[in-house]
């Protein structure tokens, strides 16, 4: 089976270490959600995993080929970055959309022009406009078009829905799923709009302060993590021997986010309320660290 592996990835900017020894395996034919707070290192990790930027330490391989500076490996990966056209990088902004897409057509060996044309039509994008004249949402559309039309076996999206209206977001999810079903590509999608995208994630990766704190099947994760509340002593009894996140105390009552063992179930009792949590709530709780 085809895999993309990150082994011991460390990244430093000067003396500031932003990624701390990340080990990660991405399998063929899955959609991963990469979730993390601002500054967690999502874009840095994706830029290194795609071979665009060097790691300080560690190695990335795809199908046992080293990615860094290896065109055969690079041809299997597309990382369509979030385009930030600011006063500081007006140079990129000077390119027209059609010129930017033309470059993508040239570089990606499996680029699908028909899919590109379809996406341009679906998003109603004016390709004659300069990138600097596009809104944030339209810039997201450009990066989505490049990523989907690249047909790269491993495709990374960096905040693809940033700035998109709800209709455009639904269009993206629909087309991404269609493309995934047809091609069996691996998608890694980093996003802050967790609940909307959770339905399409087969696995989630939680990145916090430069470390992967969780990598799990989405459905199993949502079934395993519950919110427990009740009297302090009863909640403490449930928490005993289990991973606990985000504890709240109000008077003699206590609430906690608890991770159960695979297959384990916890039922409501007269003294304790057990509630399921959605992916966003789980992530927020886990960012508060294990109690």
């Amino acid at each position: 089976m085809s895999t993309l592996e990150c082994k011991g990835i460390v990244k430093k900017f000067g003396s500031n270490e932003v990624l701390h020894g990340i080990d990660l395996t991405l399998e063929q034919g899955k959609i991963y959600g990469l979730i993390g707070r601002n500054g967690a290192g999502k874009t840095t990790l994706l830029s290194i995993a795609s071979g665009q930027n060097p790691a300080t330490k560690g190695e990335i391989t795809v199908d046992n080929l080293k990615v860094w500076d290896n065109q055969d490996a690079l041809d299997k990966i597309c990382f369509s970055r979030e385009l930030n056209i600011t006063a500081g990088n007006q140079g990129v902004g000077g390119l027209k959309v059609k010129d930017y897409l033309k470059a993508a057509q040239t570089y990606f060996p499996n680029y699908d022009k028909a899919l590109e044309a379809r996406l341009i039509k679906e998003f109603e994008l004016d390709v004659k406009k300069r990138l600097s004249k596009l809104s944030k949402g339209m810039l997201s559309m450009v990066t989505i078009i490049v990523a989907l039309a690249s047909r790269a076996p491993y495709t990374f999206f960096d905040e693809p829905v940033a700035g998109l209206d709800v209709v455009a977001r639904e269009t993206f999810y629909k087309i991404a799923l269609e493309e995934f079903a047809e091609s069996g590509r691996t998608f890694v999608i980093s996003t802050h709009i967790i609940e909307e995208a959770a339905d399409i994630f087969e696995e989630v990766l939680f990145l916090d302060t430069g470390q992967i704190i969780l990598k799990e099947n989405t459905q199993e994760l949502v079934e395993r993590v519950v919110h427990v509340s009740g009297k302090e002593e009863d909640v403490d009894a449930i928490c005993e021997g289990r991973k606990v996140y985000h504890v709240e105390k109000i008077g003699r009552s206590k609430a906690a986010t608890v991770m159960l063992e695979p297959g384990e179930e916890l039922k409501n009792t007269p003294d304790v309320t057990v509630q399921p949590m959605n992916l966003q709530q789980i992530f927020v709780a886990m960012c508060g660290k294990e109690a």
Partner: protein
């Protein structure tokens, strides 16, 4: 297509587009000026074209150094290109187009000024050398801009140019010291001078490309 082939395709397309528009404009303006001048159209046109093409090509080389490395090169890397392939193709495309424009300008100069025809053989290596020297300067701009940012990079480039100018003045002073036999020998032997300029230009150009490659090899690409 290999990675290098894709890069050559794209960089030739991109530079042809950016320089092509400039050259078409120059040719159009020169044709208009020649028509308005009323004299021998081809002669006046050739004189104007020589001047403007040389100026445009020289300025383009410096401008390329600045914009291509800070704007287009990161785009190519973001599209999964190897950095070395992109740099090689960028330099090949830039060199080809600029040498072609200088060659055209030189052909026009030979047509307009017949007295330089005996020196064509000596001029060609000198022109190649001078072009390569300009590219060396362009790659220094690119390296400094990429390393230190646009503003500081430009300041350091001006300091570099001043230092080189002072060095050249000093070098000429040394060559012309005493009876200046070495200087006189060089000036009278145009062929040898042309070859020396060519060799120095090519070496410095190669040094500039190496510097740029070394500077961008492990640099983080940001958008």
């Amino acid at each position: 297509m290999t990675g290098l082939e894709r890069n050559l395709k794209y960089w030739f397309f991109y530079i042809a587009k950016t320089m092509g528009l400039t050259y078409l404009m120059i040719i159009g303006i020169c044709a208009f000026m020649s028509f308005v001048d009323g004299g021998n159209f081809m002669e006046v046109f050739a004189k104007n074209v020589v001047m403007y093409l040389i100026m445009a090509s020289g300025m383009s080389i410096i401008a390329f150094g600045f914009t291509n490395i800070t704007t287009i090169f990161p785009v190519t890397v973001s599209f999964s290109s190897r950095r070395s392939s992109s740099l090689i193709a960028m330099n090949v495309a830039q060199h080809v187009f600029c040498l072609l424009s200088f060659a055209f300008a030189f052909a026009c100069a030979v047509y307009v000024y017949p007295n330089i025809r005996p020196y064509v053989g000596a001029c060609i290596p000198a022109i190649i050398g001078a072009t390569c020297l300009l590219f060396f300067m362009g790659n220094i701009v690119a390296f400094l801009s990429d390393r230190f940012g646009r503003t500081l990079g430009m300041v350091l480039y001006i300091v570099f140019v001043l230092a080189v100018s002072v060095g050249c003045v000093f070098g000429i002073a040394v060559l012309t010291r005493g009876e200046g036999a070495l200087f006189a020998a060089l000036v009278t032997n145009i062929n040898a001078l042309g070859v020396i300029v060519c060799a120095v230009g090519i070496l410095l150009d190669a040094l500039g490309i190496w510097l740029l490659a070394a500077g961008t090899k492990n640099k983080d690409i940001k958008f």
